[in-house]
């Protein structure tokens, strides 16, 4: 129904965390382990999952901060993983990222004007004399005032900094923006400002988002489709409404039920998961969720479930669904 912007096929990233005496890897951390999904043009694809499940890693692979261990990234039909560094960089322009921590993602030694101008300058997008104008325009877009461009990041609040980060990402007119938990470090009252801004910009510039979060409520607000990750793997993908109305994977169900509802009247039955997220260094055999699953079947321990489309647009990796 929609045009595919990015097709991610069987993508993996393994970090080598220990080598033997001769430098051969002996232990690998499988941060992302064979993930496949597509992102359509102008949609917001939400990605949720617990801490350490590989969301950021996945995002960083897409923006070329990590080289994938395995897999393909087809961007507008072209496989980015086979390009050399130089060519790969030319695609950077199209895929941008907004970072989680607004305090760490801005160079403290540069004014915000310079920070926003930098991508324009180094990519030679505009003649020199037009840059300033563009910076002011971008500042305006993200709700900052033009006269603030000569200030340094430390003079701004977290929400404002996050806006600068957004402006920087917008500066190169990207097609896809990876938003890595852009509001989780912000105060509740500021979160809404940034979330609204992101929705507005999406519409105005026709952007596509990969929106990463660890809470389902935020993702729900902004996304069109949502993917749920667990220990480096995708366990479920569905259009937003479908997912929230009809979560299929036990993990998704638990995740949804764990979110506190701001309404003391409808206190619902909670699914309390036992135990903690296992380490991605030695993930459980079979289904990775089986160690915490409340609907565990016999085969779960031994056979890894296939990620399959159970109903139109609704993918799930669970033995419960044939």
């Amino acid at each position: 129904m929609n045009e595919v912007l990015m097709d991610i096929q069987n993508l993996s990233k393994h970090f080598i965390i220990d080598t033997n005496f001769f430098g051969k890897p002996v232990t690998a951390l499988k941060a992302v382990d064979g993930v496949s999904f597509t992102i359509n043009k102008t949609e917001a694809f939400g990605l949720v999952g617990e801490s350490g499940c590989g969301k950021t890693t996945l995002g960083k692979i897409l923006v070329n901060l990590y080289r994938p261990t395995n897999g393909k990234i087809l961007f507008e039909g072209k496989d980015l993983t086979v390009l050399d560094e130089e060519k790969r960089r030319s695609y950077c322009k199209d895929i941008q990222m907004i970072f989680q921590d607004p305090y760490a993602s801005l160079n403290p030694r540069m004014t915000i004007g310079d920070i926003i101008a930098e991508p324009i300058v180094i990519n030679n997008l505009l003649p020199k004399n037009k840059v300033e104008e563009r910076v002011i325009y971008l500042l305006n877009c993200v709700g900052l005032a033009r006269h603030q461009r000569n200030r340094y990041p430390h003079e701004f609040s977290g929400g404002q900094r996050q806006r600068v980060g957004i402006a920087r990402a917008l500066a190169v007119e990207p097609k896809l923006i990876v938003c890595d938990e852009p509001v989780s470090a912000l105060d509740v009252s500021i979160q809404a400002q940034v979330l609204n801004l992101l929705s507005d910009l999406k519409e105005e510039f026709g952007l596509t988002y990969l929106f990463i979060a660890h809470g389902l409520n935020v993702v729900k607000h902004i996304s069109d489709r949502v993917g749920v990750m667990y220990l480096g793997k995708l366990v479920e993908i569905a259009p937003k409404k479908e997912l929230y109305a009809n979560p299929m994977h036990p993990y998704t169900q638990a995740l949804l039920s764990a979110i506190p509802v701001i309404n003391p009247k409808n206190k619902k039955e909670r699914i309390i998961l036992q135990g903690d997220v296992p380490s991605p260094i030695n993930p459980p055999a079979g289904c990775r969720f089986c160690s915490r699953c409340f609907k565990e079947l016999d085969q779960c321990k031994h056979h890894e479930p296939v990620f399959k489309e159970v109903s139109p647009g609704h993918f799930v990796a669970c033995h419960l669904y044939k």
Binding site: M97, S105, N107, A145, Q148, S157
Partner: protein, 310 residues
């Protein structure tokens, strides 16, 4: 129109911005914090004073004028070992030279050696450290292993060996002291680069399409520079101490230069007959080193990497 709407918070943050102080450069912030630190201000004043002395002595020497009370190198054997009095404030040494003039003259040498030695180790150390830290991998291993080797030899022994090999002289002392402290700078620069490299803003710089060289030069180094400045300030103080140590062992500058360590070393024979020949150079060294230490500490507090870089 949504954009209209979003200009709403825009206005608000404009108001909010009223609370924010006027735009300031990092340097200015550093300076402000530094000014709060009394000890650092004292250090800075002493250094300014020392620099003033050294500079005045140097300039007047260039112009052939004598502004010190006496020619620091002029020996009048008939005036040997005059105890401190109103004409010779710090007394005279074995060769009848005025100690006060010699101490003032020595400021020039100590500061010069300190700064020059640090300049050498800084330049080489920063380059090695930056390359090692950013390139990583084999380059890193090779560079850092060599640095480890140098670090494994006590620096004073290494400096003595260099001096023994190169021979005496101001230039040689500078080289020896400069060479032996390269590893420290390399290590520090490498370390801070590694930690800055982890910061999201470096990754962000990469995402928007920066080349490695530009990332080092534009994003990493400026954030490491303050650490380097602190280290260099403290480095001057240890260079001054090292110079004095070499001088004390009789390996320092060529005579008749008034080098404090050399003066101390020579005064050693007269600790009972003319203790002042030993006391004053020692005080001069201590004060100079102390001043740079005070300033270095103050700078370190001022840039406090915890609050600024992270």
């Amino acid at each position: 129109m949504k954009t209209k709407d979003s200009s709403n918070p825009n206005e608000n943050s404009l108001q909010a911005a009223e609370y924010v102080e006027k735009p300031e450069s990092q340097l200015k912030v550093m300076w402000e914090t530094l000014r709060q630190n009394k000890a650092a201000v004292v250090g800075l004043i002493i250094i300014a004073f020392l620099v003033l002395i050294a500079f005045t002595v140097w300039v007047s020497e260039l112009m052939g004028k004598q502004i010190l009370p006496y020619d620091p190198n002029y020996s009048d054997m008939s005036k040997a070992f005059i105890h401190p009095n109103s004409t010779h404030w710090f007394g005279t040494d074995q060769l009848g030279r005025d100690m006060f003039s010699r101490i003032l003259d020595g400021t020039k040498i100590s500061l010069f050696v300190g700064v020059a030695a640090v300049a050498i180790s800084l330049t080489i150390g920063v380059i090695l450290g930056a390359v090692a830290g950013y390139r990583g991998g084999k380059t890193d291993t090779v560079i850092m292993r060599v640095m480890d080797m140098m670090l494994a030899i006590p620096s004073i022994l290494l400096a003595i060996a260099f001096m023994a090999a190169l021979g005496k002289g101001l230039d040689k002392a500078i080289i020896a002291i400069g060479l032996v402290s390269i590893p420290e700078y390399a290590r520090i620069v490498r370390g801070s680069i590694l930690s800055v490299k982890e910061n999201d803003f470096v990754q962000a710089a990469k995402v928007i399409g920066n080349k490695s060289s530009r990332i080092i030069y534009k994003h990493i180094l400026p954030n490491v520079i303050s650490v380097i400045v602190v280290r260099a300030t403290l480095g001057i103080s240890s260079a001054v101490l090292d110079t004095a140590a070499l001088g004390f062992l009789g390996l320092g500058v060529q005579p008749p230069f008034a080098e404090w360590g050399d003066m101390l070393g020579r005064a050693r024979g007269f600790i009972f007959t003319a203790p002042y020949t030993l006391i004053f150079p020692g005080i001069a060294i201590t004060i100079t080193v102390l001043a740079f230490n005070l300033l270095g500490d103050g700078l370190r507090d001022a840039i406090d990497p915890k609050s600024r870089i992270k």
